[in-house]
């Protein structure tokens, strides 16, 4: 596989469940070693996409290639290269952690002795040695997630599908999962991360794909997406509301009058140079002698991106 071939390639994939269209033409690609975040509201088609890529479902039309194997013509090849972990950490909860690892190892082709050795290796790596002989049903949420991911890493995969991996975890466990994902990146493993937590996507993803109602509505790095929806703003809040016009007057030096937003208690202007603009504005306002209660840079959040991109589209086009 040459470096320019994407690790995951999706081209115009459609899928319907009876009369219900789940995917209406999804296209995107993930480069090797990249963390691709897949965002979207519930029912948007994220899970269907992941299910198609992991060979659980067949697409109705279009093409999907994972690690060089077509999901329709060579699903066995796909299965040898991927690891899937779902939101509910699907393991046999009446087997112990050790037994689950050995089962997965043997199903992936290791002989018994090698499987047991690999299981012990993974238990040590994921800090689960004490719980190795306890049934998985009795594990805490964080431990379940760790053993779930460990089971997927018995044989190193090339592409990892993480479906909402930190849902329901406490902050420490969540941090551990994030560290693991960073580890995948370091090893050159491609990660497809589905998540509802926008801060998680913001933090971990190299690029983000936003899916809504069965199509890709936006694609890009987190920074690019934020820029699409809004830019950074500089906000000045004077101590006395009466000073607002004075502040507005000062700020008109830094931005055209049309974009200076004057509210009852604050003035806001775009800050194309980020912190640089902030410093200039602060100096100017202080030089003017206005007492300032707060001056800050307000960056758009990924929440705003998400809400803006997946806002309800009007059903009917109104012809003016």
């Amino acid at each position: 596989m040459s470096p320019s071939t994407p690790a995951v390639l999706v081209e115009a994939v459609t899928k319907s469940f009876g009369p219900v269209p789940a995917l209406c033409g999804v296209s995107f690609a993930a480069e090797p070693g990249e963390v691709l975040g897949v965002l979207g509201p519930n029912g948007a088609g994220k899970t269907t996409t992941v299910n198609i890529l992991s060979t659980l479902l067949r697409p109705d039309s279009g093409r999907a290639v994972v690690a060089g194997h077509d999901v329709v013509t060579d699903p066995a090849g796909v299965r040898r290269a991927v690891m899937l972990t779902g939101q509910y950490a699907a393991l046999d909860d009446m087997l112990t952690g050790f037994e689950n690892l050995v089962l997965f190892a043997r199903l992936l082709g290791l002989r018994r002795r090698a499987a047991r050795a690999r299981a012990r290796e993974l238990l040590a790596e994921f800090d689960l040695e004490d719980a190795a002989d306890r049934r998985v049903g009795k594990y805490s949420g964080g431990m379940r997630r760790r053993i779930d991911i460990a089971c997927g890493l018995v044989v190193p995969p090339r592409v990892v599908f993480l479906d909402e991996p930190t849902t329901g975890l406490d902050p420490r466990s969540r941090q551990r999962v994030w560290d693991l994902i960073a580890g995948f990146k370091a090893q050159g493993v491609t990660t497809l991360l589905t998540t509802q937590y926008l801060e998680e996507a913001d933090l971990l993803a190299d690029r983000i794909v936003v899916i809504d109602r069965g199509t890709v509505v936006a694609e890009g790095t987190p920074a690019q997406l934020k820029q699409r929806v809004g830019a950074t703003f500089c906000e000045v809040v004077p101590v006395r509301a009466a000073d607002v016009p004075a502040v507005a007057h000062v700020l008109r030096r830094f931005a055209p009058a049309a974009v200076v937003e004057v509210a009852a208690d604050r003035v806001t202007i775009p800050a194309p140079h980020g912190a640089g603009t902030l410093a200039q504005v602060a100096t100017a306002v202080a030089a003017h002698g206005v007492a300032v209660s707060d001056i800050a840079l307000r960056r758009p959040s990924l929440d705003e991106v998400f809400l803006a991109l997946t806002a309800a589209r009007p059903r009917f086009e109104v012809v003016a």
């Binding site: 060979t55 699907a90 087997l95 002989r111 090698a114």
Partner: protein, 263 residues
């Protein structure tokens, strides 16, 4: 490299290996669940003992032969049927948790998932049969036709039980689960009272005799009775095989399709 087994996913050795591993998982799971152990081992023996204590003498007097030769087959077949119901419930719960999907995405033979469920079921039925027969032997049950017939005796409930399991699984996939399970439980209860293992066919009102004679469980019970005690084996055996083959033929495709969809 000797630490890994590299066979293509869709080869026969892979099928055997992967089926064995997944069946082992299911059996470990059942072994560790107290309810399943009780239902597979303790309840059948208890039922056998009770039926023998309460109705043994009366039925023997009516039938002219020891009632055990009817009760033991009936209890064995009934536990096989009820066990497959419990198995369908387990499958439903596992599908909800996402485990079959997880295993499906592994590079295992495509048929091994369903095959392993049937293999595990067959093992469970055999274990129950052996335990119930052992209890029967204590009460006076004997194999009068030799070891080959005894092996046939063990094989018939497995054949019929697996066919019934296919039916139950297909039904569970196609309809709302609780309704199906209750309806089949009720059906099993009725079949328990209306088969020649409970009381001989002659004890039933004449108008019911044809119904009972053609009830699916009857042929299995009659075959087992004949294999242990004596009498015509061929007729009931042919009927049992016919029922089993018919059930599997009708339910095979719905089971496979239903399983894929439930993933």
């Amino acid at each position: 490299m000797s630490t890994t087994v590299t066979t293509p996913e869709n080869s026969v050795p892979a099928l055997v290996r992967h089926t064995g591993l997944q069946a082992g998982r299911l059996l470990t799971r059942w072994r560790r669940d107290p309810m399943t152990v009780l239902q597979s081992l303790a309840y059948p023996v208890l039922l056998l003992l009770m039926l023998e204590a309460v109705l043994g003498r009366q039925v023997s007097a009516f039938a002219g032969q020891d009632a055990l030769y009817g009760t033991v087959p009936m209890v064995v077949v009934m536990s096989a049927l009820l066990g497959s119901l419990a198995g369908a419930v387990t499958l439903g719960r596992e599908c909800e948790a996402g485990l079959p999907a997880r295993l499906w995405v592994l590079p295992v033979h495509r048929a091994s998932a369903l095959a392993s469920r049937f293999v595990a079921e067959a093992v469970r039925i055999t274990v129950t049969t052996v335990v119930v027969v052992a209890a029967g032997v204590v009460l006076g049950f004997r194999f009068h036709r030799g070891p080959l017939a005894a092996i046939g005796f063990l094989a018939v409930p497995v054949l019929f039980g697996l066919a019934f399991a296919a039916l139950v699984t297909a039904a569970a996939f196609m309809a709302a689960k609780t309704v199906v399970i209750e309806a089949i439980s009720l059906l099993c209860t009725l079949m328990l009272f209306f088969n020649p293992g409970f009381v001989p066919i002659g004890a039933y009102p004449d108008v019911l005799a044809p119904v009972i004679r053609n009830q699916p469980m009857t042929s299995a019970v009659e075959t087992m009775q004949a294999l242990a005690l004596g009498g015509a084996v061929q007729g009931p055996l042919v009927r049992t095989v016919a029922w089993s083959v018919a059930l599997v033929a009708v339910c095979a495709v719905p089971v496979i399709r239903g399983y894929r969809r439930a993933l």
